[in-house]
Amino acid sequence: MNCLHDEQLQALADGEGTSADRAHAESCAACGARLRDRAALMASIETALNPPVDLPASFRLKADAAGEGATRLRGPFQRSRSFRLETEGTRRWIYSAAAIAAALVAVLFVVPAVRKDATTVSASEILAKSASQLSAVTHGVEVLEYELVLGGVPKDLMPDQVEGTYRIWQAIDHDVPGRFRFASYTSDGRMFSSIAEDPIARRRVAAFTSEGQDYRFDVTLPSGPRAMSLPEMQRLHMEASITMMQASGNQLVETIDGPNGKLYRIEVPRVAAPGANPVWDLSEARVLIDSRDYSIIEFAVQGSLLKSPYSLSYKQLRHVVGASLPADAFVVPTRPGEIVVTGEGSAVPTRDVVVLALRALAQAKQAR
């Protein structure tokens, strides 16, 4: 007889093998040793997975937990209101007919009534609330500071910042739609770029540094319908990412303790279907949400955009609503030695930079 397969050894170790297999194990030294080995492993597993825990003395019949088909876990509020039965003396669970009947009545009639209040929340609901918070501020000046780490496509668009890590300061004037200023700083505190728009003054200023030279593009904004501003695009990206996370069926949500209170941590291992060849695919997404106001504290996505990998990580440092800022807060500061390019702008800031730079180059050549 040939030596035993793992399956046969397993069956023997579990007391389910055939007499022929057992006879072989007794006569074959190698199989005998493997059987002892397997039996020892199973004994270890049995010991480890059969922990010496008994039903706690406080175990009681909790009617709310017996709801068949319930899809929600109980929270502290519901627990305090839950329907409980316990014995008078020992506090042990006793299955009396009355208790069971009462439990069933509670399950069928009491619990559904109690559960009319939403006492649990899903990852999708948290994400929805958080997404709605992105556009919740409608008045006053909102100031946000955050750390932004870019990878892949967005980082390639900003070649001067090799490490792709920025500290962003942004101010949005919700009383004047379209008025904002963004500024990015390197890790040593140097302003790397800034862009500001003022629809009333019809002016957009973008400043950045390339190969050590500072540039400033000062353009007039086109008349007519206002194009989407940078903050709006940023908000839409975050909303779209959250929507994709909501659409996923495998969100994982947990609460963790943050420095200022409880946070919701939601992870989505994969959003788009593999092999679906999507224009936009999130292979991984993670968001940390402040439970107090559903604001996004951290946000990280990884995926592909037009088949090119990209990643974005956002970590909020400061968020102030109704901030009082100095008058020049929405003005991009001038820097000594910067090259200033002026002209008429379009709805697309990056296009303006290219067109105006080429125009300035041509004018310089003609002037020679």
Binding site: A48, L49, L73, A101
Partner: protein
């Protein structure tokens, strides 16, 4: 109703702790394990009142408990208690674990696929291959093979999980063993 509840009481005394222990290695929180036990025995009562089969009640109990534990873990992943802004309650406490063995076992278990976890936990409660097949929906002829793989994967998971000092898994290596 009286006869059924009496039967449930006896079955609870006979199997309640085993079901609870089984649940503790599949779910993460004590309350979830208690809920699994409760749900299992409430369903048993309904089963008996409906004239359900009592031929293999132990297998039936573990089948229900396995499903309940799986459902609860799935819900735990997607739902968390609603907590108002001022509510700073923390998740339910983890299970008691005097010597860390349960924790390590569960940590290693979490690295395994659901089916492996169920197979090992059911076997650890002494269920026969027939009952395991019934509880998991696996064909009985496949139980041994799948159990062997699950056990190997669990042992590997414990080792990679820093199983030092975990004397239960101090396996003796056998030259020539497959």
């Amino acid at each position: 109703m009286q006869g059924s509840s009496e039967a449930v009481r006896e079955l609870f005394q006979a199997h309640g702790t085993a079901i609870y222990r089984f649940a503790t290695v599949l779910v993460r929180h004590r309350e979830d394990a208690e809920d699994v036990v409760q749900e299992t025995f409430v369903k048993l009562l309904r089963h008996l009142e409906a004239g359900g089969d009592m031929a293999n009640v132990r297998g039936w109990l573990f089948t229900v408990a396995a499903n309940a534990a799986r459902d609860r873990q799935r819900r735990r992943g997607r739902w968390i208690p609603w907590e108002p802004a001022h509510d700073i309650a923390v998740p339910p406490p983890a299970l008691d674990d005097e010597d860390g063995r349960v924790r390590r076992a569960r940590e290693a278990l979490r690295l395994l696929p659901d089916r492996d976890r169920q197979l090992l936990a059911l076997r650890a409660q002494g269920l026969s291959y027939r009952d395991i097949a019934s509880a998991t929906g696996i064909q009985m002829v496949s139980v041994g093979r799948l159990l062997a793989r699950a056990a190997d994967r669990w042992a590997a998971a414990v080792r990679t999980h820093g199983g030092s000092g975990y004397e239960l898994l101090a396996r003796r290596t056998t030259p020539g063993a497959r």
